[in-house]
């Protein structure tokens, strides 16, 4: 019998004790491996999210995101400042406008005619909505074939009951129906009864984004399905890009014309952003948007490209310093992405600590057990030395005994980890995003939605900030979708609309941030790669070595004469 076989036999001299030790080791090692796998999986996710951020920064007015919040808009002068900052390789500004649609015009007409009967209409249920829809259908009786939208454009800045302040109007119809969520969030439902009976048909505005390059406001390439990109970016330009949903709803194609902001625009191209929400939008030249909306020189956000990922953090700080933190918010990618990364970073730390702690516990268990075993077999050690065993031989025997216990525990622990690593990783991620979301949701209050970062164009009936009275916020989007078809918009502040795994999270505004973070994170996939296996094996060896080394050294101090004196 060689020393390994003898050690294996010795390891199971006390079967009950050895079984209990192996079981405890299995749990500890299983937990350690699960934490390690979770750590690796989360690390991979963080790397994936960071790659989404890439080298881009987004500058928003301080205290504002899209159409939410308040403060002062950015300007072309700010854009020049941004471009002058070191490591900024490119910077493009954009201006988001909210346009009232022909649906709003129809709703206003029905609302003004029937204002006395609004309450009764609401009590009747969805009749108001139906009539509104019917009227809008009537108003748009001859679309598509001529390629020209015929509907009567709503008045600029018009606000029927429950609609939001707008920068202007358009002859287009929204491709997104208000539905229950739109009615609720536009305040046209009866908040107390929960009824969606509308005093007037809820008006779903469109988001028009002024851009100055061929990319979307978030820097992503626009996938054109018809026509070409905008070629004329001057203030007098009449070229626009329409989202596929919007084009289809209005029967438009490349070459078609429609009215917006008092100008007749021609559809230069139709794009597909991947989702109905993001396709319910249009892009127009920035200078034209600024001029037509009376916001000359103003910007909603600035998308910054940094020369390398290593300079992102320093450039973010430099931009904040250059613009002033009271004037501009500078974020990497989107606030949602940063939040998601921070959440996952916390999970990484927790899982790493858990891995180390579980390993340490396992090592301590082995150490204590082996110390006990050495003390029990002190006489035997003395006899072995008396019959010619060297200290090294005896020490090796006890090390192998520990290794046997640890190896069996590691095998069982690996089985446990296979089943537990996924749920543990999910639980850690879910608890992390859940805790951050509760804080975010709590910061929302009545009127948090419908915020009017935009100024209504002069001469319109814009009533800025009146959107606050549209009703209590209900931003608890359950699926990360905007509950207000326009409130998050197509993310002119840099959120990649329809980006990978991101969904239509838009501006990172106050509502739905829990779902934003969770949706941004998406699925954390646990997998065991060579690195994980190597690290896990190293951890197991550490357990065995640490647990056995001290007892092995103890055996060297046993003197055989002490054994004989005990005879």
């Amino acid at each position: 019998m060689n020393i390994l076989a003898r050690s294996m036999g010795n390891a199971f001299r006390n079967k009950v004790r050895s079984g209990a030790v192996i079981l405890i080791l299995a749990v500890a090692i299983g937990l350690a491996l699960s934490m390690l796998v979770a750590h690796q999986a989360v690390g991979a996710k963080v790397a994936e999210l960071k790659s989404q951020i890439g080298t881009q920064l987004t500058v928003n007015p301080a205290g504002s995101r899209g159409f939410e919040g308040g403060g002062e808009p950015l300007t072309n002068s700010d854009l020049d400042t941004v471009r002058s900052v070191e490591h900024v390789s490119a910077a493009e500004g954009s201006l988001s406008l909210r346009l009232s649609t022909s649906d709003a015009a129809s709703a206003e007409d029905s609302g003004s005619d029937d204002s006395a009967s609004d309450d009764s209409a609401a009590q009747e249920g969805s009749g108001g909505g139906d009539s509104g829809a019917a009227q809008s259908d009537t108003a748009q009786s001859d679309p598509a074939q001529s390629g020209t939208a015929q509907s009567e454009p709503a008045q600029a800045g018009s606000r029927g009951p429950g609609s939001m302040a707008t920068a202007g109007s358009t002859s287009l119809r929204s491709a997104v129906d208000a539905g229950t969520l739109g009615a609720r969030n536009s305040g046209t439902s009866d908040g107390t009864s929960g009824s969606t009976a509308a005093q007037a048909p809820p008006a779903m505005p469109l988001t028009a984004t002024g851009i100055s390059t061929a990319a979307a406001a978030d820097g992503s390439e626009l996938t054109l399905t018809d026509g070409t990109a905008i070629t004329d970016y001057s203030a007098n330009s009449t070229e626009v890009l329409l989202g596929a949903s919007l084009a289809e709803e209005n029967g438009l194609a490349a070459g078609s014309t429609f009215e917006a902001l008092g100008r007749t625009f021609t559809v230069a191209g139709v794009f597909d952003a991947g989702t109905v929400f993001d396709n319910n939008a249009l892009y127009l030249p920035l200078a034209a948007a600024q001029e037509l909306s009376g916001q000359t020189g103003e910007l909603s956000s600035i998308l910054v490209t940094v020369d390398s990922m290593e300079n992102v953090d320093s450039t973010q700080t430099a931009l904040t310093d250059a613009l002033g933190s009271d004037r501009a918010d500078v974020s990497a990618g989107t606030a949602g992405l940063s939040e998601a990364i921070n959440s996952l970073a916390g999970v990484q730390s927790i899982s790493l600590v858990g891995f180390i702690a579980a390993l340490a516990a396992a090592a301590l268990i082995v150490l204590l057990i082996m110390i006990m075993v050495v003390r029990e077999r002190r006489r035997e050690i003395g006899v072995l030395k008396a019959i010619g065993a060297s200290n090294r031989t005896i020490g090796l025997q006890f090390v192998l005994e520990a290794v046997v216990l640890v190896a069996i525990g590691a095998v069982l622990g690996s089985v446990i980890a296979v089943g537990a690593s996924g749920p543990i990783a999910s639980a850690l991620v879910d608890s992390s995003t859940g805790s951050s979301s509760s804080i975010e949701a709590g910061s929302m209050g009545p009127g948090a939605m419908g915020g009017e970062a935009l100024q209504a164009p002069p001469g319109t009936d814009g009533q800025p900030s009146d959107g606050q009275s549209d009703g209590p916020s209900d931003g608890q989007s359950t699926d990360g979708q905007s509950t207000d078809g326009q409130a998050q918009g197509t993310a002119p502040d840099g959120a990649p609309a329809g980006g990978p795994g991101s969904g239509p999270f838009g501006s990172g505004g106050p509502f739905g941030s829990f779902d934003q973070t969770a949706e941004l994170i998406g699925t954390v996939t646990t997998s065991v790669g060579p690195g994980t296996i190597a690290l896990g094996a190293g951890g197991v060896l550490f357990i065995a070595a640490f647990g056995a080394l001290v007892p092995a050294l103890m055996t060297a101090r046993v003197r055989p004469i002490e054994v004989l004196r005990g005879e």
């Binding site: 019998m1 001299r13 006489r379 035997e380 072995l384 019959i387 004989l564 005879e567």
Partner: protein, 223 residues
């Protein structure tokens, strides 16, 4: 030839020292079957430990076939015990979960003997100590006292030592079994040409040996 020259062993005791071994001198030719007699606590086990290189003398020399054991470094002492010394303990001290065969093979494994040779010699030794073959693979903790002592003797002879030291080998056995063990040791001393030194307080047992030495008050006298 074992030569013991004026060996002294001191232990501190209170303000002074005690000398259980105080100037012991004797010699034993190879193949001698001898006994060291003495009362309990007379220092017999202490002398045995010095002869077996388990302990060091305060002064004096132990010479085995011309090699002064007292001056060997610790590593060489281990080698000396491995190859030249065999121990038979009063409480057998077998490895309980190993079989009789595996216990006998242990010293040979420590000495680097090949597996086949280990197995063959172990089987032969167990036959010499008259342990029936069906007991060769039985775990030591399932053998009787007499059987365990036979295995212990076989283990002591595994590496063909020049000296076997038996400390009260019949102390835990009944009289009849004890006599059988002593007879076995005598025969093995002749067959293996091994010097066997038995430490005992049993006069009747000592009478069965070829030479008797008595240790009293630290000094050794021959009877």
């Amino acid at each position: 030839m074992l030569e013991v020259r004026n060996v002294v062993k001191e232990f501190p005791s209170g303000d002074g020292v005690i000398r259980p071994v105080n100037g012991v001198t004797f010699s034993l030719p190879q193949g001698t079957f001898a006994a060291i007699l003495g009362r309990s606590g007379s220092g017999k086990s202490t002398l045995l430990s010095i002869l077996g290189a388990l302990d060091t003398a305060t002064s004096g020399d132990v010479v085995m076939d011309g090699t002064n054991i007292s001056q060997l470094p610790p590593g060489r002492l281990t080698e000396y015990r491995r190859r030249d010394i065999g121990f038979v303990f009063q409480q057998y001290n077998l490895i309980p979960n190993l079989s009789a065969m595996e216990n006998v093979m242990l010293p040979m494994e420590f000495a680097g003997v090949g597996k086949a040779e280990r197995m063959a010699r172990a089987a032969a030794l167990l036959n010499e100590v008259e342990l029936t073959e069906e007991l060769h693979q039985r775990p030591a903790n399932r053998l009787s006292g007499g059987q365990q002592q036979r295995v212990s003797i076989a283990r002591a002879l595994a590496n063909r030592p020049r000296l076997v030291l038996a400390d009260e080998p019949t102390g835990n056995l009944d009289e009849e079994t004890g006599e059988l063990i002593i007879e076995l040791l005598r025969n093995l001393a002749q067959q293996e040409n091994t010097t066997i030194l038995v430490v005992t307080h049993d006069q009747a047992l000592a009478a069965k040996t070829d030479r008797r030495l008595r240790l009293a008050r630290g000094t050794l006298t021959e009877e």
